[in-house]
């Protein structure tokens, strides 16, 4: 699947396109298919997100979204060395797949 990510303008927090807006949780990310460029152009123009881009991802049987590249997996959860500061996630196996 193809999903969109960026950083929130105000806080800099990592965000994910959920179909109508930008969520802090990677599991909310939706497959944008071939609409990526159109959404990115629209959202960039609206200045609701900083430097958004499209990435490849997979979704597991439980519905958890996993970005394909290690950098985006780290972005999805937070620093692996400060798990106390991690983004809250319903995916209890998150740290098993980030690296």
């Amino acid at each position: 699947m193809k999903i969109l990510t960026g950083n929130d303008l105000r806080s800099g927090a990592v965000t994910w396109w959920n179909g109508t807006g930008w969520s802090l949780f990677v599991d909310d990310a939706v497959d944008v298919g071939d609409e990526a460029e159109e959404i990115l152009a629209r959202e960039t123009a609206a200045r609701r997100v900083n430097v958004p881009y499209a990435i490849e991802a997979t979704i597991d049987a439980a519905g958890h979204v996993r970005p394909a590249h290690i950098k985006d997996r780290v972005r999805a959860l937070g620093p692996t060395v400060r798990r106390d500061l991690a983004v809250p996630t319903a995916d209890k196996t998150g740290w098993d797949w980030v690296i």
Binding site: L9, R10, S11, G12, T80
Partner: protein, 543 residues
């Protein structure tokens, strides 16, 4: 230490308000990110993996207790309770909100600090010997000259848009504790045979993807021509530096391509011209600056101490450095607890350090390029009290210059440029050696880890260096041996094919095994490597 005059304060305050307006316009959607990015970078505000990151300058690594307390307050009020001290003697905050950034800069300005020129293609924070003003072996205190360079380079209109970033280090000892020859300009202040004080200029060093050791360009510049010579070096670079290719834009490439002799010839020509123009600041200005760096009121006292407590004795042996006054030492505060994150300090720890500086070190602190802190002037009589307070705060690790004292960049845990994580390696290696009781056995061993080729973790200069790379989407680590950023400067050589995370940690153990089996009395890891060469290490790793 230096205190702002009305010009300094007015400049910094004006920049805060200018940035406040720029950030407001960005938040209101009146500026695009493309328009705003160079403006925020000029104020040290990056966008990293998880949030904005603010890099705050600590000029030549010197700060006072009030400033450290302000840094602690910022960590607590605007960040997540901690900060990260860097290899360029700065501090970075990892979780900054754009809407808070101008308020943070205002808080910094109130204690004479800022984040100006901590990013961008300009002259960055001037770095120096962390023992400056305290070391027994220095010719003079290099910091007045570093401060003069700071004032000259701040907002210098000609050097605001250089081909690439530009880093200057100033030292005044034979010992190089600032990686001086791995800077764009390295300045060593010396005393010549006639007893005159002057400066050696080394130009064109650096790490990154093309590491180079700076050649000597001028062996003696009179100190009343220091700025003029620096300006000549910059002018030649600004004129001919490669602006067409980011990867060839640093001055080291220009010096290498021209050759040191031709670069020097051009600098000398420019220098002669600049002398006729008269750009050197008046001597009175240097004298004014120097008054801020006068020695504190040292008092005589005991020169020996009770070493009956073995933990204290080990810390004294490892973490203190000879002072120019024999009743004092400089005390290194390790930010490398076993298994910890190199360079990180909590707000509470910063306040402990600030209080110790106020009570025991004439209100003065240093940030070391090794990502540690330093109390420069501690009476030997007070040393046990200082150690006890540090130990209680988790700051008493006795590991300066050991394999636990690892330099590690933020790596893929924080940095948008990184290809691999650095911090977990540092944590695991320090744990592995500490738990096996091998730290003391191995002795001095400088291990440095970078998460990408930009080399913020100085891996080229590590006795053992580790570089993280991206190998088909997974982390891979190249091991290198034989680097040094000290006066015996050298660049590390890659051992061979890389390793995964577990593999590189095992590889570090193997190369230390080779060292322990091969060393002769008194040899450091680096000495043994230089004597026996790479082959025995390669054989152990790949044979």
């Amino acid at each position: 230490m230096y205190q702002y005059d009305s010009y300094d304060q007015a400049m910094v305050d004006a920049r805060v308000e200018e940035f406040r307006d720029q950030a407001r316009r960005r938040l209101e959607g009146k500026l695009t990110e493309d328009q705003f990015k160079p403006l925020r970078l000029m104020n040290g505000l990056y966008l990293q993996l998880h949030a904005y990151m603010l890099r705050v300058a600590v000029p030549y690594g010197t700060l006072n207790s009030l400033q450290m307390e302000a840094l602690a307050d910022i960590a607590e009020k605007y960040d997540r309770g901690y900060g990260h001290f860097t290899t360029r003697q700065n501090i970075q905050y990892n979780w900054i909100k754009l809407e808070d950034a101008a308020d943070i800069l205002a808080d910094l300005s109130r204690v004479e600090m800022h984040a100006i020129q901590t990013s961008g293609n300009c002259i960055r924070n001037i770095s120096s010997d962390h023992f400056a003003g305290a070391a027994a072996d220095e010719v003079v205190d290099p910091r007045p000259y570093a401060e003069l360079l700071r004032q000259w380079s701040s907002f210098h209109p000609e050097f605001t848009y250089l081909p690439r970033k530009f880093k200057i280090a100033v030292i005044a000892s034979e010992k190089d504790r600032a990686a001086m020859r791995l800077h764009d300009i390295g300045i060593r202040i010396i005393r010549n045979d006639a007893g005159e004080i002057g400066a050696q200029f080394y130009v064109g060093g650096g790490m990154g993807r093309t590491p180079m050791i700076a050649p000597l360009v001028r062996d003696f510049v009179p100190l009343d021509q220091l700025i003029t010579y620096a300006e000549a070096c910059l002018r030649v670079y600004n004129r001919y530096g490669r602006r067409d290719n980011k990867y060839k834009a640093r001055i080291k490439i220009l010096v290498h391509e021209l050759g040191a002799a031709e670069y020097t010839r051009q600098v000398e020509e420019e220098f002669a011209h600049m002398l006729s123009v008269g750009v050197e600041p008046p001597r009175e200005e240097l004298a004014r600056i120097a008054t801020y760096f006068a020695d504190p009121a040292f008092v005589d006292g005991p020169k020996t101490l009770d070493r009956s407590d073995p933990d204290f004795a080990l810390w004294v042996t490892r973490n203190t450095h000879r002072h120019k006054h024999d009743a004092y030492v400089s005390a290194v505060i390790s930010l490398k607890p076993v298994g910890g994150i190199p360079g990180d300090a909590t707000a509470d720890q910063m306040r402990v350090v600030a209080k110790l500086a106020r009570d025991y070190s004439f209100d003065e602190l240093r940030v070391m390029h090794t990502q540690n802190l330093l109390l420069p002037h501690v009476r030997i009589a007070d040393l046990h009290a200082v150690w006890s307070a540090l130990d209680e705060a988790g700051l008493g690790a006795p590991n300066m210059d050991t394999i636990e004292d690892i330099i590690a960049c933020p790596g893929l845990d924080y940095c948008s440029l990184a290809n691999a994580r650095s911090i977990p390696l540092a944590q695991r290696i320090s744990e592995r050696f500490a738990q096996a009781g091998r730290t003391e056995l191995v002795g001095e061993l400088k291990l440095k880890i970078s998460g990408c080729i930009n080399a913020c973790g100085h891996h080229h200069a590590g006795h053992i260096g580790i570089l993280g790379v991206d190998k088909k989407g997974t982390e891979n680590y190249q091991l290198s041996l034989g680097g040094s950023e000290a006066e015996d400067v050298s660049l590390a050589k890659i051992t061979g094919p890389g390793f995964d995370e577990d593999g590189v940690i095992a590889a570090v153990e193997k190369v230390t095994d080779v060292y322990l089996a091969s060393r002769t009395d008194g040899e450091r890891f680096l000495d043994t490597y230089r004597r026996i060469g790479m082959e025995p290490f390669k054989e152990a790793l790949y044979g």
